[in-house]
Symmetry: C7
Subunit: 91 residues, 7 copies
Amino acid sequence: MALKIQPLADRVLVQPQEAETKTASGIYIPDSAKEKPQKGKVVAVGKGKEDYKMTVKVGDTVLYGKYSGSELKFDGKDYLIMREDDILAII
Amino acid sequence: MALKIQPLADRVLVQPQEAETKTASGIYIPDSAKEKPQKGKVVAVGKGKEDYKMTVKVGDTVLYGKYSGSELKFDGKDYLIMREDDILAII
Amino acid sequence: MALKIQPLADRVLVQPQEAETKTASGIYIPDSAKEKPQKGKVVAVGKGKEDYKMTVKVGDTVLYGKYSGSELKFDGKDYLIMREDDILAII
Amino acid sequence: MALKIQPLADRVLVQPQEAETKTASGIYIPDSAKEKPQKGKVVAVGKGKEDYKMTVKVGDTVLYGKYSGSELKFDGKDYLIMREDDILAII
Amino acid sequence: MALKIQPLADRVLVQPQEAETKTASGIYIPDSAKEKPQKGKVVAVGKGKEDYKMTVKVGDTVLYGKYSGSELKFDGKDYLIMREDDILAII
Amino acid sequence: MALKIQPLADRVLVQPQEAETKTASGIYIPDSAKEKPQKGKVVAVGKGKEDYKMTVKVGDTVLYGKYSGSELKFDGKDYLIMREDDILAII
Amino acid sequence: MALKIQPLADRVLVQPQEAETKTASGIYIPDSAKEKPQKGKVVAVGKGKEDYKMTVKVGDTVLYGKYSGSELKFDGKDYLIMREDDILAII
């Protein structure tokens, strides 16, 4: 599925992964107790800037700080668009 | 329709797109419940700066953060003028 | 009328245009309801800086953000002196 | 009268001009109603910095923002010492 | 044990060392009295930036300021991911 | 008397001059009414920085802003150590 | 006694000198009246940064601002680790 969206400059579009709603012991917890997801999949990458080359690629799974980026709704799905510098690591 | 306005430096003039006043289920919602638009059409682009070349072009549909830019009224229409760096993505 | 004033560096002297005191429907509105003008005429331009060349010229009509610049009274007239970067667009 | 004072770097010593205590209509107004002066005469100029060449010269009459600079008392007279960047224009 | 995680740019993944729960005099103290650990082992290192070469290496024991970095949970273990500049010293 | 102290980088050690405790009319005023001194003698000068060459020299009398620098007590005397950029002028 | 600790980049490890607990008149003052020490001995020095060469050396006695640096406990002794720029002077 190709997303027709081109992040500007050093920005990255990330699709957050669902927080598990089941604890290790198999008990379902209500929604408000879920931790805000910090893991996501890169779905679109900007072209960088004159003095900044992008590192992450489409398809990478990345970790990012809570509260990073701006929320975007697109075809009914939630995305985050953030600067690559907000991405902590590729896993 | 050519707008006789030349944004300075790295600024972009954007015409916000109307927020839909109908929900997916076809129900009209009152004005105060509408989300502030985050999508718009580029209608004029600055010439960039000595060390900054513009990326967006007139006619591009862009996403931008809520609260980005300054509001301008022009011939009875509302526009936003913002720095290109406030534009998140081209769609 | 040549103003004997030389703005320093990247500054621009702007003469604000009067806010219209008549609405589209032809009704006069009291002074406190007037919007602070955001349109003005450039009357003097600084020489720029070593790494900054000026774009606006004397005679240009410009848009600028509300609250931009410092107010100056000169021969009984009100002016604003602002950095060129505070100017949003030439119209 | 040569002032034996050498402003450092990009600083300028300015002697504020007295605010007029008479209005246009010739009525004297009490001291507290006077506007803080924004006009002054340059009496000493720093040597600039490695990457900054001075523009104003001794003898220039300059406009500067209210609250600019530090007040200095010298031989019973009040001066302001400010960075050249605080000077708005030469008149 | 190789951690499949690649910190971005100038970031370092650190595994905090347990705070001693026994005082010098051999008395166990309750958890809330423990000092937050400031010592840790480097388990993954970013590739640096165009103008910044990394100094620490995997396996180094490092000291870092309290409150440095973002907490990450990974395979049930707690890590901190921080910029190398948050690391005070290698011991 | 040579002070065995070497200010680091762009710092300057200044010995504040006593505020006059006698007014022009010859009346002594109590200590709390004295203005904090803004004049001092340079007693030691740092070696500058790679991109900053010092201007002031030992023996110069300088003016500096109130509240500039850190107070140091040395052999029972009070000094101020400040960055050269806090010095306003040489007199 | 060689400390096995390598400060990172432009950091310096300083061992604060005890504040004198005796006043000039020979009277002991209680602990809370002691001034926080501002004098210390350099015990370890970082390797600097690509664009910053270190000035202080191990063994130097230095003055530093109150509240500078992070406190570190090491083998039962208190140290401060600070950037060299927090050091005011070598004495």
